[in-house]
């Protein structure tokens, strides 16, 4: 019976550890916003610098190697965007991996007394708040990832369509609406699995919230008589 209690407690504490990790995703949103803002600024600086070069020098190629300036700015922007998106995802991953989990293991090894101590130390209101934050963080992160793929797809498709038109390979002028729709479809196709996973995780968090609310109210009302 004691073993049963320990393993049930382990299940509970593992679920709460996972909630802590998910909550960290929500907390990383500020970092992501900063990284993406910096990326946007860097791309704008690159594009404006390219335009200023053209205005002041009156040429659209770099003199030394005759590279088209638009290609340089375009490829540079793509690299900056890739770096920004990679940096944002890496930042979230690092923060989530840095969350300390399993600190309860040594206490739970004590058996039933450890389980009692851990249960007594649980701060239910904080746990419920964390679950709500985790739900929000997971949803936002899922949508943000799709949105970033969309933006990235937009930029790439636009630049390459433009290059193909300028190189006289195709004779259709760039159609921004077609690009937006194509990149949106691409983004949805690429993040379909991820979005579905997030949806399921949010559903699981919801059911965990209800289960724990029930447990908290029942356990609080109950009284053990010696």
């Amino acid at each position: 019976m004691e073993q049963q209690l320990s393993s049930k407690m382990e299940e509970l504490l593992r679920a709460l550890d996972q909630v802590k990790k998910y909550r960290e995703i929500a907390a990383s949103m500020i970092d992501i916003a900063i990284i993406l803002s910096a990326t946007t600024v860097a791309v704008l600086v690159l594009v404006i610098s390219g335009n200023l070069w053209t205005i002041f020098n009156g040429v659209t190629t770099i003199p030394e190697n005759h590279l088209p300036l638009s290609a340089l700015v375009g490829n540079g922007s793509i690299l900056v965007i890739i770096a920004g998106i990679t940096g944002a995802i890496l930042r979230v991953t690092l923060r989530v991996n840095a969350v300390k989990v399993g600190q309860w293991k040594s206490i739970l090894n004590e058996g039933a007394p450890g389980a009692i101590k851990l249960l007594a130390e649980l701060k239910w209101e904080t746990i419920f708040k964390d679950i709500r934050s985790a739900k929000l963080g997971l949803s936002l992160y899922g949508f943000l990832k799709t949105f970033l793929i969309w933006v990235f797809g937009n930029v790439i498709l636009f630049l390459y369509w433009d290059a193909l038109v300028k190189g006289n390979i195709i004779h259709l002028s760039v159609n921004p609406i077609a690009i937006m729709i194509a990149s949106l479809l691409l983004a949805l196709a690429l993040s379909n699995r991820d979005l579905r996973k997030r949806y399921e995780q949010v559903g699981h968090l919801d059911s965990l919230l209800w289960e724990l609310r029930w447990f908290d109210s029942e356990f609080r009302r109950a009284d053990f008589k010696t």
Binding site: M1, K8, E11, A15, I116, L205, S207, E211, A222
Partner: protein, 95 residues
């Protein structure tokens, strides 16, 4: 906590620890029990007084502490009582 004050609201964790150790080791003197449970001697004495009053533990002629049948049953009941609640919770797979 004043050292003269009796325990009014005992900590279930401490009681469970004392009982578990007594279950495993059968009979112990207070100093060894204090060391095993990680409690200060004074605090342990207060807990033992409370537990003795509730007939969970008893003392032999050498002043060693041992667990009563009621003490062992209470521990099992406590585990069963918690399991009754925790056991009903279904944890979704969060990965």
């Amino acid at each position: 906590m004043n050292s003269e004050e009796p325990i009014s609201k005992p900590d279930l964790y401490v009681i469970a620890r004392v009982i578990k150790i007594l279950k495993e080791r059968k009979k112990l003197n207070r100093t060894t029990l204090a060391t095993s449970t990680g409690l200060s001697y004074d605090r342990l004495v207060k807990y033992l007084a409370w537990m003795s009053e509730k007939r969970l533990v008893q003392f032999d002629s050498d002043d060693n502490v041992f667990l009563t049948e009621l003490g062992a049953d209470t521990y099992d009941e406590l585990v069963k009582w918690i399991l009754q609640y925790v056991g009903k919770v279904r944890f979704p797979k969060l990965t």
